[in-house]
Amino acid sequence: MSYRDDADAVRALVRDAEVHRDVYTCRDIFTLEMERLFANTWVYVGHDSQVPNAGDYFTTTIGLQPVLMVRHDDGVVHVLYNRCPHRGTQIANETCGNTGRFFRCPYHAWSFRTDGSLAAVPLPGGYENTGLADSQAARGMTPVRHTHNYRGFVFAKLTERGPSFEDYFGKSLSSIDNMVDRSPAGRLEVAGGVLRYMHNCNWKMLVENQTDTCHPMVAHMSSAGTAVEVWKRAGEPMPKPMAVEIFAPFISSYEFFEKMGIRTWENGHGHTGVSHSIHSDYSAVPGYFEQMVAAYGTQRAKAILDENRHNTVYFPNLMIKGPIQLIRLFKPLAADKTLVESWTFRLVGAPDLLLERTLVYNRLINAPTSVVGHDDVEMYERAQQGLLADANPWVSLHRLYRPGEPVASVDNGTTEHQTRNQFRAWVRYMVGDAA
């Protein structure tokens, strides 16, 4: 049986409160995810602050597709396939740079404007009446079909299929709004550098973990628990070190996580930390509140800062942390290989101390050298192995499942509803029902 030609087989992988392990381990499913999920959903590409000036570019991937994001003369950010129409050479090979007004292919010097259109070809006479003019090659570097720049966050959809940007994200954009609003200037800038962490597991395990509130007090006891213990043994030196302030909430009680709440939205999006989160009790940053009040007035400033969402999942593979100005992109490389990129932002107009804390958080939690990261990776990689066991092919997502639960709702913070929500969106795309 091949999943490609059997929608029912794909449908059968996702039950009300269980999923079949093939969604994590099967190579064919991964291939279909690239074709049906990552090509038909709005996938995060990058932030426009990475390409501030005309000619600035940033190379990345959407699923396994090589693309680049470039700022055109008119200031608009374009997303192009990073592929020469002549022989297929990747035009840009560095992570970022400035290409001036043109891209020039290093193989035979075809050149392209920063909107992808073909600018010039050496010895053009050689192409007269050859059919080139009518070929796709003549149109230059193919642009990605749909792109949308939402307050600096650039998303792209590779095909005609799937919903519009607004329909796709709907209310979930409120999490991006809150992160941006936290800048007195209402602007974010990528800052500090990206941490890249390779995982030998399926990308979905990582996405699910973002709203998995029953693992911190267990899996992170070794890191966060030890941190608190060592600090206590040291006589609780004050002011509480930033590191301890960051570690400690990871081992909050079940009750803390239950009360925090989880909100789910249409199309697989959702977030933890409806009422509060592990980021709620960070010590104040001198001067910041005043800047916010100056920019927004007291009431609005309070409203913005009182929002303490924990992790917001933008299905399929982006997570953002508004209160700490950090996003994580889960890049699928193979059924059992995922690259995690953790990006940090500066709140334009806010004190450096906020960026500093963001960087400390990223280093302590998301780096390949991070003890919290080690805790999690161990779980993912053990699961990737354990799922090879054929005797029980089902993964349980029963926690707080209710028959006929609504797509959009707010639940007890320990529910697995958001993971179920992701899989319900997942299966719609995988069987091609997501018009």
Partner: protein
Amino acid sequence: MISREEVIAFVYREARLLDEQRFDEWLELFTEDGCYWMPLEHGQTDRRLTASLMDEDVLLLRIRVERLKGIRTYSQKPKSRCHHLLQQPQVDVFDPDASRYSVWTAMHYVETRQERQELYAAWATHDLTDVDGALRIRMKRVDLVNCDAAFGSIQLFL
């Protein structure tokens, strides 16, 4: 009086303590305000507003060391092992009067667990000082040759 030979011997001893998993003794090699830094960028100078792979004071280092012993530290069941191979350390700064000694050391670091083995190539820079006659680490900086690459878990210490 510290000799150049002692400075070099110190760097060898530091690596050997790690390989022999004598982490508590290793921690004692740091001054109270000592620091372990692994930059994310080549030639990185800023530590505050530029990310690093590691930038740990003694408190954070102790947390790591205690965690490694933890019975619920599952990422260390089974344990990782590490192996350092140092090129002859080069003493770049030898200033007994200021009690400053800076040593540059090319090294390979192998970390292994179960069937996996990873090799990392790096340069270590030790800023040492003399605390009542004994050398201590003010700053151990480790620059990976591929610091900007994507890595899997690095669980012990380069």
